[in-house]
């Protein structure tokens, strides 16, 4: 089949959305298909929205048998066989309208734009032959705001065979961007309350200086320098595989995230349990308390208790790690399933 993968983009900003497109290109080509990718720059400002959406309407991709659209507003591209892997709305006009993230005033003009956008999105969504999302959270929003049904298709990670598992050390590892909404600080605060010599490794890049600095000073204040390692840098794939392979467990506790996030998936491929919190949103679609990880209340004491349990009850921790792979199969998180569904 000739397939074109389409996404909006922000030039020179490498968002996570690129991964799924790039990986899918490789997997589809391996399957013998001819694939092109299209990344169209887009700015979400209210006054510029509709003009850019018009641009998508004029694209002629009829050379492809099928197109798959990812980041919005790519779903506006017309095609007789359009499939969406819808990762999120333009959230400031949807579920984040009543939040400080909106970025423009709640006045008559912007409400008009918002309402028109909802209607236009709905119409474009309806043009699709099939809509997939990356999580139940996003599927629920599609139903609530646009009245359209969708199928959850969990995005796999590339080349999962490279992950492996070996004897666990004492380290709980969190490999993701160091940002406030990822809440690495909560892990540090929790460590203070632990009774067992659990250690923490927090590594990843950050968009700003502020948060990593805050983490480091927190470690200092709490006198945890010998038990917490904060690495504010890009972690290579090889390092990631290594850290996960030997860790006691992984931790991933973002605030109300849309989907489960690659960190929890990578941990599962490494046969490791994941520590998360009850308010982490999409992560809970993957992690089940006591099955393949721990779901604690989002406070330091509860997290500390969970950490101690992971440390003490090693055999259970290890068992949960093994179950992590099973859970992936349960949720059909695999490239075979992905391609199967996308090309159905």
């Amino acid at each position: 089949m000739k397939i074109i993968l389409c996404s909006s983009s922000v030039p020179f900003v490498n968002g996570g959305y690129r991964n799924i497109v790039d990986w899918l290109v490789t997997m589809l080509e391996q399957g013998g298909h001819k694939v092109e990718r299209l990344f169209i720059p887009q700015v979400d400002e209210p006054d510029l929205l509709f003009r850019q959406m018009a641009a998508y309407r004029w694209m002629d991709l009829s050379a492809a048998d099928r197109i798959i659209c990812f980041r919005p507003q790519a779903h506006f591209i017309p095609h007789q066989h359009k499939v969406l892997w819808f990762i999120h709305h333009l959230r400031s006009y949807y579920d984040l309208w009543d939040s400080p993230y909106r970025g423009f005033p709640d006045d008559a003009k912007h409400r008009r734009i918002r309402d028109a956008l909802h209607d236009a999105d709905t119409a474009a969504l309806r043009e699709s032959k099939k809509i997939f999302t990356n999580s139940q959270v996003v599927s629920d929003r599609l139903r609530r705001f646009n009245g359209v049904a969708s199928e959850v298709l969990y995005p796999p990670v590339f080349n999962s065979q490279r992950f492996f598992c070996r004897q666990a050390n004492d380290e709980i590892v969190c490999i993701c961007r160091l940002e406030h909404h990822k809440r690495q600080h909560l892990l540090i605060e929790a460590l203070r309350h632990t009774k067992k010599p659990v250690r923490l490794r927090l590594c990843g890049t950050s968009a700003t200086e502020g948060y990593p600095t805050h983490l480091k000073s927190l470690v200092g204040e709490l006198g945890l320098g010998d038990r917490v390692r904060v690495d504010n840098r890009w972690i290579s794939e090889e390092e990631k595989v290594e850290f996960l392979a030997g860790c006691l467990a992984a931790a991933y506790l973002p605030v109300d995230e849309d989907s489960y996030g690659y960190p929890s998936l990578e941990a599962a491929h490494s046969s490791k349990a994941t520590l998360t919190t009850a308010d982490s949103g999409g992560v809970l679609e993957l992690i089940r308390d006591g099955v393949n990880g721990c779901v604690a209340e989002p406070n330091p004491q509860a997290l500390a208790e969970a950490m101690d349990r992971l440390y003490t009850d090693r055999s259970h921790t290890q068992a949960m790690g093994k179950c992590a792979q099973d859970r992936l199969a349960e949720l059909n998180i695999s490239w075979d399933h992905t391609i199967d569904r996308l090309l159905a």
């Binding site: 506006f76 309402d115 028109a116």
Partner: protein, 437 residues
Amino acid sequence: MKILMFTPAIKPSAIGRMCSLVTQALVRKGHEVFLVRTENEKLLEGDTHDFGCELLPWNDTERVQSLAGQSDLLVYQMGNNHEYHFGCMVWLPQLPGILCMHDFFLGHLFWSWSDKRREEAEKILRAWYGEAMAQHYFNFPSTEAFIEGTRHEAPMTEWVCSMALGVVTHSNWGAKRVLESCPGPVYVVPLAYDAPGHVDGDRQPDNDALNILTIGHVNPNKRVDSVIRAIGQSATLRAHATYRVVGSIAPETITTLEALAAEHNVKLTLSGQVDNKTLAQAIAEADVVSCLRWPALEAASASAIEAMLYGKATIVTDTGFYRELPDDVVVKIDPDDESASLQSALERLQRNPKRRVQLGKTAKAWAAATFTGDNYADKLLEIGRAATKTQILRDMIEQLTDQLCAWGASDQILALRETIDPLRLFSHCGSDKPMSR
């Protein structure tokens, strides 16, 4: 929502009266309404209807613009009278909104508006109706000839509808031109009306007598002479029917009609213009109200609605707005066989007082449920929401057109379907119109 309503406000304006029912309903529903009076400067002195909200004149430019910027919805009440709708024509081109069309034929409005704007007017005529009409329009020998010559060929409906974000009409008749020219949604909504001064104690039918009433400015359009002749043709009617006509009337017409009545032995009373109390009394005493019209120029008939709200058996011509009224609430007369049709209808009504009263009751119940301010207000809010998308689309198309024109695009290029069709996704109704400068 914050709503800006443009309408004539003075007491004599029936449109103003209708509008006041709507604004009151909107206020009751919790919306913030401001009313811009559109009557010509000299008429701004007169007494107004009670709209339940603040009024401001159309020439308070700063205030109008400021309120428009803050409003979620702009609505224009449009009719054929330029004196009354002067302010509408000033603001509609600059501040697009929802148009409520009370008349499809806007020839008089356009004529008056064209004064000192001849060249622009001819351009408009040429664009919508062609060169020939552009040449003829201002050269008809008489008012009748003008109406005859333009009401089908160049009613000027498109001229205003093309400026609107959406159009509310009060009947389907005449909607074709609206649909072809309005870029946004078009709704048919029953006119809002009430029957003030309703006199309690319906007239008990006096078995044989038949009081027939016609209301309104007496002109040939109202078929008064047809009624007189129909009565004259029938012995029963001559014996039992009395025909009262209430409304302003020219002296010549009085003479003509009285002579006609005498000739046919018909009991005719011409009351001329009366006050509201007398009018209400006349209606209360009537058994049948004749609302015949030919040709039908109005989008909807206030007097027919009023008659129904008063619970009267109503006779209408089977055309236009009247054709759409349910068959069981009015008596419809075939305009192609008016004489015979009218005579037999009146005879039947005279013979059967019970049926007359029942007809009136049915009409009243139906009219009271249909022609309400609440319903109209609800529909306005709905079309307002539907039309916001049109505005977004308009802005987008305008930007595109500007860009294309900046590169000297010919009309053919502007009209390319390949450019317009993919954008249909964004529009509410079909965009069959080419982009224009």
